[in-house]
């Protein structure tokens, strides 16, 4: 389950409270995305995500993370460190492989989409199912945003509405989608007209 402090961290009103193991869960997917972007390798990203959470849990159990407030910074620094370490190890492994199998270098050049998958096939099916249950207008905004990668300004021109209205519609659509996916109380971004 993903979400913010309201659901996954669980200490919305008291950031000085000691973190709980459940607070780590909301960082699982962001950690994968973070590591995948840096390493360009889904398997390595998954390893970094798991290891970061393990280190976080261990630090928590040893009382080294005193409050929920410092947990994100701890995880971020841990993930940065692990990515750097992983990157160096990968470079060494690649050089070793190339020494024994010169053709393997060509294989790595074809890494146009080495991120095989961010989420499981089951989760992808759930997301598509939830998308199908949105209103057509909501679904359209999400498709223009994530499939077509259109900026909010361009979507606004298509719909004949202001850019801010596009962002608000997208935010509401994502909240609806999150609810359909079973994410309880996703964070609310506040807007004023």
């Amino acid at each position: 389950m993903e979400g913010g402090r309201h659901n996954s961290v669980g200490h919305a009103s008291d950031t000085s409270a000691a973190p709980r193991p459940a607070d780590l869960e909301g960082f699982r997917l962001p950690l994968r995305i973070f590591a995948a972007r840096r390493l360009g390798d889904w398997t390595a990203a998954e390893d970094v995500s798991q290891e970061t959470l393990r280190v976080g849990l261990e630090a928590m159990q040893k009382g080294r993370i005193k409050s929920v407030e410092v947990l994100p910074g701890f995880l971020f620094q841990t993930a940065v460190h692990l990515c750097m370490h992983r990157g160096r190890s990968a470079a060494r492994e690649k050089r070793a492989l190339e020494r024994f199998h010169p053709a393997s270098g060509e294989e790595s050049d074809s890494e146009a989409h080495p991120l095989e998958t961010l989420i499981s096939a089951e989760r992808q099916a759930q997301v598509r199912e939830a998308l199908a249950r949105l209103d057509p207008e909501e679904r359209q905004v999400l498709e223009w945003t994530y499939r077509e990668e259109l900026p909010s300004e361009a979507i606004g021109r298509k719909l004949g509405v202001a850019t801010g209205a596009v962002r608000m519609r997208r935010h509401r659509a994502i909240r609806r989608l999150a609810a359909l996916l079973g994410v309880t109380r996703p964070p609310v971004r506040e807007f004023k007209d």
């Binding site: 962001p30 360009g40 994100p72 971020f76 990157g87 050089r95 080495p114 209205a165 807007f191």
Partner: protein
């Protein structure tokens, strides 16, 4: 419309979307990563966005770092080979505590000076070019293989002594610095400069 929450990357901008699409500069992407770990709203935007992108057949996140790595490494390797002779010669001059070199990179010259750092490490420093915002620093062996890589916002960086114990650093570890402006355009680059432990001889 204005945004009422305390998030600086929030409702008035598409930061999470641009991040996932690989359209932020490396500097902005890194800053946003540091932010979204602490911001539940942006973390949610990144999480749902990644899922949606993948469900719609897109890579969940574009790999800007991988692209920059592919452009940086061949340059570093080529430069390392080109100056290997000079580097080896410099490294054998064990009387000097300080060394530096310069290279015209097409736009601006960056001169890197290496001195002994704390606990047996090194301090690499350079004059800040006028439009530089960040610096990419890389240490590599004579074969061009990266041994250490980091980013700096100031015109100096400390490199730990462990670099000397890495495989392949026996003869000629080299350091190279490239400066980038706020739009992540390269504005200056140094030559690969021998990393000499000046304070230890």
């Amino acid at each position: 419309m204005t945004r009422a929450s305390g998030c600086p990357s929030g409702g008035e901008r598409d930061t999470a979307l641009l991040y996932l699409a690989g359209r932020l500069s490396e500097r902005d992407a890194t800053a946003f990563e540091e932010h979204y770990f602490s911001c539940a709203q942006c973390r949610e935007d990144v999480t749902r966005g990644g899922e949606l992108r993948e469900a719609m057949g897109r890579p969940p996140v574009a790999m800007t770092t991988a692209r920059s790595r592919r452009t940086w490494l061949p340059l570093a390797a080529a430069a390392a080979i080109a100056i290997l002779g000079i580097g080896t010669w410099r490294l054998t001059r064990r009387g000097s505590e300080e060394t530096s070199s310069t290279l015209r990179a097409g736009h601006e010259i960056l001169k890197v000076t290496v001195t002994a750092g704390p606990q047996g490490g090194f301090e690499a420093a350079w004059r800040a070019p006028s439009h530089a915002a960040t610096y990419a620093v890389e240490v590599f062996g004579a074969d061009g293989a990266t041994l250490w890589k980091g980013e700096a916002r100031e015109a100096h960086v400390t490199i730990g002594p462990e670099i000397l114990s890495k495989p392949g650093t026996g003869t000629a570890p080299l350091v190279q610095v490239e400066a980038f402006d706020a739009m992540h355009q390269s504005v200056a680059r140094s030559a690969p400069t021998p990393l000499v432990e000046g304070g230890h001889r």
